[in-house]
């Protein structure tokens, strides 16, 4: 009985320690974001004050005004990013669902080899394909176009992987029942598979959207015309062109570049976790 009480206390201590650890780490990891976000609302002289002003005394949108309506088409960049990321998400969902279903539920010649190839490219450095891909885009005349921003990411290996993992867990009986009812392959796919796979599809869509939005290297190398830049590329170029006298605007730029993703994340949190859960089941 004595040991039991001891153990209870030990467990309590463990929980206390865990809570303390989490709080400390959370504070440390949130602080920089908070500092930047509030910094973007301060006047220049206050943004750089020492010690930092924890609560902006005179919050102002002046920096955002300069950022959004200044010399650079920042709103257009935002729009470019929205178009690119949405198109990548929509097309990646389309291809991933079809391929993932086939890989997960059907047997066809070369299935395991092909799937192995796709898994391999999930871990291969994309940098390798960059130069040839750019040459290809030039030959197609696609430089500085939405097509070139989207096309290389329509086939989304992680999405195929995710849908396949998910489909493998779907009992065959459900599919068999549909085909016994006389539904053809396409009808089964549309009426049974798609509704069943909705959680996986949503996860793929959101992951593809976020990775499309955050894709940097490709956009940086591909884009030349200022009005075709995407938000991350444009903002990073803008910030590196600013002097430290414009720190407030730089912070506003970086904050404006991360806010959309933060909103997407807060809105679709569960799908992120679900996606990782599906993916982690069998690696």
């Amino acid at each position: 009985m004595n040991t039991e009480r001891f153990r209870a206390r030990l467990t309590g201590a463990c929980r206390g320690a865990a809570l303390l650890l989490l709080t400390l780490v959370a504070l440390a990891s949130l602080l920089p974001l908070y500092w930047m976000a509030t910094g973007s609302l301060k006047l220049q002289q206050n943004a750089m004050s020492v010690p930092p002003e924890w609560f902006p005394q005179h919050p102002t949108f002046q920096n955002y005004q300069k950022l959004l309506f200044g010399s650079k088409p920042v709103l257009r960049w935002f729009l470019n990013s929205v178009v690119t990321a949405s198109a990548i998400a929509a097309t990646a969902v389309f291809t991933s669902t079809m391929a993932g279903y086939a890989f997960g539920k059907k047997r066809f010649p070369g299935r395991s080899v092909l799937f192995g190839l796709i898994v391999v490219t999930m871990i291969l450095p994309r940098e390798v394909t960059l130069v040839p891909l750019l040459v290809l885009m030039r030959q197609l005349g696609w430089v500085d176009s939405y097509l070139a921003l989207v096309a290389p990411f329509i086939c989304y290996p992680f999405g195929i992987f995710l849908v396949r993992q998910f489909m493998q867990a779907v009992p065959n009986d459900l599919l068999d029942a549909a085909s016994l009812d006389g539904a053809g392959e396409w009808a089964t796919f549309a009426r049974v598979v798609l509704p069943l796979a909705r959680p996986a599809i949503a996860a793929v869509g959101i992951f593809a959207f976020v990775s499309g939005w955050n894709e940097y290297l490709w956009q940086l190398m591909l884009l030349n015309r200022e009005e075709m830049l995407t938000l991350p590329v444009g903002v990073s170029k803008l910030v590196s062109s600013l002097t430290s006298f414009d720190m407030g605007v730089a912070m506003a730029g970086a904050t404006f570049a991360f806010l959309p993703m933060l909103i997407v994340y807060l809105a679709f949190q569960d799908y992120f976790v679900r996606g990782i859960t599906i993916g982690a089941v069998k690696g």
Partner: protein, 314 residues
């Protein structure tokens, strides 16, 4: 141990086996025809935009080419140059190894720690989980910008805070100093990714049957012992995935290095992917850049294959 607890994992295993065996219902010829169509869009694009360029990079690496004029075949010379005559490339691998070692310990370690802490049925577990995962959705560029501000020698948050608490002598140009630049970038990467590994481990932990732990608890195992003896071994498959992702991802690190230091100062944060891009986008060395890319791909692919093999053999 009671019978109930031993039965649970066994039943679980069986259902996994069923799933694998159940592979495919039998097909009619018509169905076979349709099936060929399903993966086609993905595979076609995959060939065009992934496999094609990889092969093209392999071909390009055998030539000396400025992108316009006639290409000169040089065979394996670019590879010889990379392996024996490019000290910066060698340096970049050392840097990358250090970076991967740091991220491996800190990212995966903290990820596991957070996941275990969340497991302790804390109040607001969902809140913590959401919070730690949130840096994952930020683009690397934004993360790089944010931390360049924080690490700025004059007005950066870190130095300001250090001076504030009387450690002013510690304040330094974190990214401008050869001794701290690599470490700083590695820790920024940890800030972004620890939450991802936490989510991965948390997903794994959720699949650890609670009855098993409960039974061990009843048998008198202490919580730390429970963690090392039961939870960790049960987590082994997830850990293997985490290590694989961390190592293969770590050798492709580019964005942070590009935004925060561009390889400097004095190549102390040069990494292979960055060096490869610098070479590959220089008209004088298109072929050389391709060769560096192929080497990088072979190393990462080899590492990935080796780690998968070790995992499967276990």
């Amino acid at each position: 141990m009671s019978g109930g607890t031993t039965r649970a994992p066994r039943a679980r295993r069986r259902s996994l086996g069923d799933r694998r065996d159940a592979g495919a219902p039998s097909l009619s010829p018509r169905e076979r025809r349709v099936l060929g169509w399903l993966p086609l869009p993905a595979l076609g694009l995959y060939l065009l935009f992934v496999v094609g360029p990889i092969l093209a990079a392999g071909g390009l690496s055998l030539f000396d080419w400025d992108g316009i004029g006639p290409a000169r075949f040089v065979g394996m010379d670019q590879y010889a140059r990379a392996l024996f005559r490019d000290p910066i490339f060698a340096r970049s691998w050392t840097n990358n190894l250090i970076y991967v070692a740091i991220t491996l310990v800190v990212e995966v370690g903290f990820g596991l720690l957070f996941a275990a802490a969340l497991q302790a049925r804390l109040p607001g577990a969902g809140f913590w989980r959401a919070l730690f995962f949130s840096p994952m959705v930020l683009s690397m560029v934004v993360v790089g910008l944010l931390w360049s501000f924080v690490l700025n020698p004059e007005f950066g948050l870190l130095n300001t805070m250090l001076r504030r608490v009387g450690l002013g002598t510690w304040a330094m140009a974190w990214l401008g100093d050869e001794r701290t630049a690599l470490l700083s970038i590695a820790l920024v990467s940890c800030w972004r990714y620890a939450g991802f590994y936490m989510a991965l481990f948390a997903a794994g932990l959720r699949r650890v049957p609670p009855e098993v732990l409960e039974a061990a608890r009843l048998d008198g195992a202490s919580e730390p012992k429970l963690f090392t003896r039961m939870t960790l071994p049960l987590l082994a498959p997830v850990t293997a995935v985490a290590l694989l992702l961390c190592v293969t991802g770590g050798f492709q690190a580019f964005d942070l290095f590009f935004v925060m230091s561009d390889g400097g100062p004095f190549h102390s944060t040069e990494v292979p992917a960055l060096w490869m891009i610098k070479k590959g986008f220089n008209r004088q060395s298109l072929g050389y850049g391709a060769a560096l890319g192929v080497i990088l791909a072979l190393v990462v692919g080899g590492l990935g294959a080796a780690m998968r093999k070790v995992k499967d053999d276990r």
